[in-house]
């Protein structure tokens, strides 16, 4: 996979639309090119560095949007067991992305950062300006909600 595709993939995970993803990636690339001379290409993890820049750019957009419209819908629903693992197995990347899009943006950010990118809760708390405990609880809720969404999907298929 080309680096640009990989970074676009990262950007897409953190944004609501393809347009936002493009904007994030574009801004990230501008920063990458400007700061390329400062990057230790020999010793550093270039892929990690590139991903970090894209994630940071996406978070910046998220914070800006959050400031504009500070009303994330929080879902407080009970934990439901996923009763049909086969549904998960049938989901491809695009389906998962669509499911992820149904998560509130804040949840999605934390889920992506922790589960996909491997950020620790401490790092997430620093990046998003929240408490570590908030990060943990929101990740938990993000997962619950994701399961709910998958279950809904299953119900819809059965009907």
């Amino acid at each position: 996979m080309l680096t640009s595709d990989r970074l676009m993939n990262v950007s897409r995970r953190y944004t609501n639309s393809l347009e936002d993803a493009k904007d994030v990636l574009q801004n990230a690339y501008v920063k990458i090119f400007i700061n390329l001379k400062n990057c230790d290409l020999k010793n550093g993890n270039i892929d990690g560095w590139l991903s970090r820049i894209v994630v940071n750019e996406a978070l910046q957009l998220y914070r800006k949007k959050k400031k504009d419209n500070n009303r994330d819908v929080l879902y407080q629903q009970g934990l439901k067991e996923i009763s049909a693992p086969e549904i998960i197995a049938r989901l491809n990347a695009e389906d998962i992305l669509k499911l992820m899009k149904r998560l509130p943006e804040g949840y999605r950010m934390i889920f992506n950062m922790n589960v996909v990118e491997g950020f620790s809760h401490k790092e997430i708390s620093e990046q998003l300006g929240i408490a570590e405990s908030t990060s943990r609880s929101q990740l938990s809720r993000a997962k619950e909600l994701l399961r709910d969404i998958i279950n809904d999907q299953k119900k819809a298929e059965l009907c």
């Binding site: 996979m1 993939n9 897409r12 393809l18 574009q26 501008v30 693992p85 992305l97 992820m100």
Partner: protein
Amino acid sequence: MLKDNLDKYIKENLENARVDWDKNAMWDDIEKQLPAKEKDRKGLLYLIGLLFLLMSVAICFFAINGNVDNEPAVAFMQNEGPLDKNTTELNDANAHIFSRPIIDEKSPQTDSDDVAKVKDTNTNTNTNTTTNTNTYANSSADLKINTIGKVKVDDLERKSNYGSEKKSIQITEEHTIALPVINPSELITIDSAVLDSKVVSIDQVSNAISLIERLESISNIGFKKLLISNRDLPNIRSEQSMIEISKAPNKGLQLGVYSGIGIADRTLQSQSNDDLLELRDQNETVLEVIRGGLTLRKKISHNFSIGAGIEYQRINERLDYIESSQTTVTVTSDSAYVANTASGSLQYFSGKVDGVVTSSQRFIRYNAHHNISMPLHVGYYTSLAPKIEVSAYAGPVINLYQGYEGYNINLDGYIVETDAIRSGSILSAFDAGLSLDYGMSSCIDISIGAFYRRALSAFSIDSNIDQSYDNLNLQVGILYNFY
């Protein structure tokens, strides 16, 4: 377990997901957004600075070496009394003028090499003209002596062979050179010098040595004729007037090549739009001036010179501007609202949103003003020290061509590529400056100097704002002398 599987499955899928998107369009956008690559002008500035430094060091070095012996020795005798050219005998006070070293034509080779085979002889050299009964040294006691410089014989000989320079002596009525020997083992005293500048250049000393050598090959009579010739000069009223003739050599025509750097002060004048003027004033910066050219200078009488040249001048500028635009858009979204229904499922309602999109883009552009001109100068020069000449000059600058390369802000506040400029008058500026020339050899001079160029006319790159530059410059050059 399922939870872990879910996380892992989602992670793997998301990491390997492919998104279809138009990369090419994004690369174009990124390229526009990237700041223009800053031109690497540091190297050029360092190079010019280094050149300037080397020139300065070289001038100091040669100036110091050219004056190794600054102790007085080359004596100039001055007699206040009038000289009657009809007098066939000189009194003591005047006699020294014509007290020439006489060549021993019988045995010139037996004399000391140190004194270039000049003998200190007090011979009545010409019965028709002079009667000299005093030695030079003795007569000097009665005379006013301006001590000018001291040069050892060894130095003289060495410097007479300095480089590949060829010395040629033209004994004209304008030269009176005599070389009486005070102390043959150490010194040569020359009673001809530059009276007005009080210096004897190494050229003159070398010329004197050559003269001695030449005199060896001529007879006493020939030498005396020379003296007679000098003495018979019209309008000689005193020894001083006689000796004043030994002036700094007029190098005549000089062809030079030079380069330099400077700083510029830009003046903007609005024709119709003060807002645009303010915008440009805030967002444009003048960086530096770089110039180079050829010059032709002719030394004319009374230490004046005239000159003309062809010069290229480049003034670099930086434009740093944030261009912003606002567009009103209406977005119809199918996910503008989301709500939980009574059944617990999510329901989406389409929405319509009007908004103003404000976009901004920062432009950093490096512009350049190119100018080819013909500076015309009138100057005054004078000798400052041996081989060093200072000159002041001033004159108009004729504009031959000017152009502007780059971008400018237009009336709408957008960045546009600059069109052809509207030039001002042909008389573009006025120069005034100082330069210091050091004679590396008889043919080559090194010149360093500074000058101020005051703009006399303006030009426009947008037909709205007139602009002009005053600049202060340093320059170095090499001059070739055509005698």
